[in-house]
């Protein structure tokens, strides 16, 4: 425990010394992903098929088949947990969020619209929103006013070999590569928003940029990222 705090403290200090260092950890991850060469031909059909399976599970959930919920859990609980534990930095809370997310998926299965994106996107979006609600509630209690040092501490921990999680690795490489192509200031705004749950106003505070600039960078960054990743967004049928 002690050295975890020490590591955090060091990272925190580093960030202040070097000023604009928020993206460093992400960049480290993005760069490590390049170790694994992409296999573009293979990835798209596999994802399409996998989303069709997910959509079939959602349909069964609409018919009150709880075994489909179990199957969906087996397919996506790991990705979801990885995301929310990373955002929350607390395994107990992350577990709660995973449970709440799948429960919401069960209750709201009929509101899923395949035309708006893949089932996994839908699940991760619900889970991230629930995690952000908790993060923001804590911030309101002033426990963790911005919480931006956390992401550095976590991501600076020894990275995993991306090839280890087979089902996500190709996609991961593509996403990392696309993010790497963005201008640094656009990437930073997206990272602070997505991984740290900062609002545009908070990002403006943290980066010392006017709110209008933050808004523009966020929109441009998203639009640029969208093109290379369009085939991954899981539109079905």
């Amino acid at each position: 425990m002690a050295h975890r705090f020490a590591r955090k403290a060091i990272d925190f200090q580093e960030r202040h010394l070097r000023g604009q260092a928020f993206g460093v950890a992400i960049r480290r991850m993005v760069d490590s992903s390049s170790m694994n060469p992409p296999e573009p031909e293979l990835s798209y059909p596999r994802e399409m098929r996998s989303n069709a399976d997910d959509v079939a599970l959602i349909r069964r959930m609409c018919d009150s088949d709880e075994t489909a919920l179990g199957a969906l859990y087996d397919r996506w609980s790991r990705s979801l947990y990885s995301l929310v534990v990373h955002l929350l930095n607390d395994s107990d809370e992350a577990e709660d969020v995973v449970e709440e997310t799948f429960w919401q998926a069960w209750r709201k299965a009929s509101s899923y619209e395949p035309s708006k994106g893949a089932v996994s996107t839908w699940l991760l979006t619900i889970g991230r929103r629930k995690a952000l609600d908790r993060i923001r509630a804590k911030r309101r209690q002033r426990e963790d006013p911005i919480g931006r040092d956390r992401i550095l501490a976590d991501m600076a921990s020894p990275g995993q070999d991306p090839s280890q999680h087979a089902e996500g690795s190709e996609l991961r490489v593509h996403v990392a590569a696309a993010l790497r192509e963005l201008p640094v200031e656009q990437r930073e705004v997206l990272e602070l928003g997505y991984f740290n749950g900062l609002s545009q106003t908070e990002i403006a505070d943290v980066t010392g940029q006017p709110l209008g600039t933050v808004k523009t960078r966020m929109r441009l960054g998203m639009q640029k990222l969208r093109e290379p990743l369009s085939m991954h967004r899981g539109r079905t049928e």
Binding site: F102, W103, K116, L132, Q160, H165, G168, G193, M222
Partner: protein
């Protein structure tokens, strides 16, 4: 809700896609996007693109035991909801006998203890649930032992959570302690414990009883009864913290007896994992209940019933 023009809504799409804008405006933007042929698809594609960033986080996993617990809770809850829906408003019939757990309490008479005896086959060396040193009358002791004799409490609540929980914290503790032998032993022990837990909770012969209160979502619990191995594993959450001098006690309710499955105190977050070994006739279980009792436990329920679940045949 304010109605936004196309331009106003369009300029906020990125903020909404990332949940990074003002909450009050987000609803108005979504309302506009749901009818605007340009903003709708734009927002959807932005959200889908942002969701892909989730691929970049380091891979983490719940421990198998905890993940199995979440999965089971979800399925049990979904299943009960489906049944409730199918029964179209008919209230679940909480069993006769369970009702008497609440209120004035119900003492197990010598007769009912005897009646319970045939189904309570001795499986394991006896470990009395009550802590030594607690004062109690000889009469109640006899009753208590008659009922509790075949129970073996395997693990005390919160510790199991701690063992199977945060791998990072564990890794840090191990690293701080140093020593590869310690590390390997602890990891092996933790893994073995997780595996044992999963084995006890899964399999074709596992019966699940879901415990809840009538009014609130929390507290709740699931009892997994592995009828092949006589393992009982209960996972509970949302339990209020106890007053000093009190304990929670778990009861297996049959037609003829209320059998204590042990006492526990939940962790700081109101959760517990309780494990017991007990051979019960495979059709005898009627309900599982948790009551609030004096510290050390009692031979028969006396306190308020916190949550209860009926066992379907």
């Amino acid at each position: 809700m304010t109605e936004l023009s196309h331009e106003e809504a369009y300029s906020e799409l990125a903020a909404v896609a990332l949940d990074a804008g003002q909450v009050e405006i987000a609803d108005a933007v979504r309302a506009h996007a749901s009818v605007c042929p340009e903003c709708g698809p734009e927002l959807a594609s932005m959200e889908a693109t942002m969701a892909l960033l989730g691929q970049l986080v380091p891979h983490s996993e719940m421990s198998p035991g905890r993940s199995a617990g979440v999965r089971s809770r979800l399925i049990v809850r979904a299943g009960s909801e489906r049944k409730a829906r199918a029964a179209s408003g008919r209230k679940p019939d909480l069993l006769h006998g369970v009702a008497s757990l609440a209120g004035q309490g119900h003492r197990v008479s010598p007769t009912s203890s005897q009646a319970a005896a045939p189904e309570a086959r001795m499986q394991q060396p006896v470990r009395p649930i009550r802590q030594p040193g607690n004062e109690r009358g000889p009469a109640s002791r006899t009753n208590w032992l008659a009922i509790a004799a075949t129970l073996l409490l395997a693990a005390a609540s919160a510790q199991l959570f701690r063992v199977t929980a945060d791998r990072n914290a564990m890794r840090d503790q191990l690293a701080a302690r140093g020593g590869d032998a310690t590390r390997a032993d602890s990891l092996a022990a933790s893994l073995a414990e997780s595996n044992a837990l999963v084995a006890a909770m899964t399999g074709s012969d596992v019966k699940v009883v879901s415990l809840a209160s009538e009014s609130a979502r929390q507290p709740q619990a699931q009892m997994f009864w592995n009828r092949a191995s006589d393992d009982w594993t209960m996972i509970a959450s949302g339990l209020p913290s106890l007053k000093p001098g009190r304990t929670y006690q778990v009861w297996l309710v049959t037609d003829s007896a209320k059998i204590s499955a042990g006492t526990f105190e939940p962790d700081a977050r109101g959760r517990t994992v309780l494990r017991a070994k007990y051979a019960l006739d495979r059709n005898a279980l009627r309900a599982v209940a948790i009551t609030d009792e004096p510290a050390g436990g009692v031979p028969a329920p006396t306190g308020a019933m916190v949550i209860v679940g009926a066992a379907t045949p």
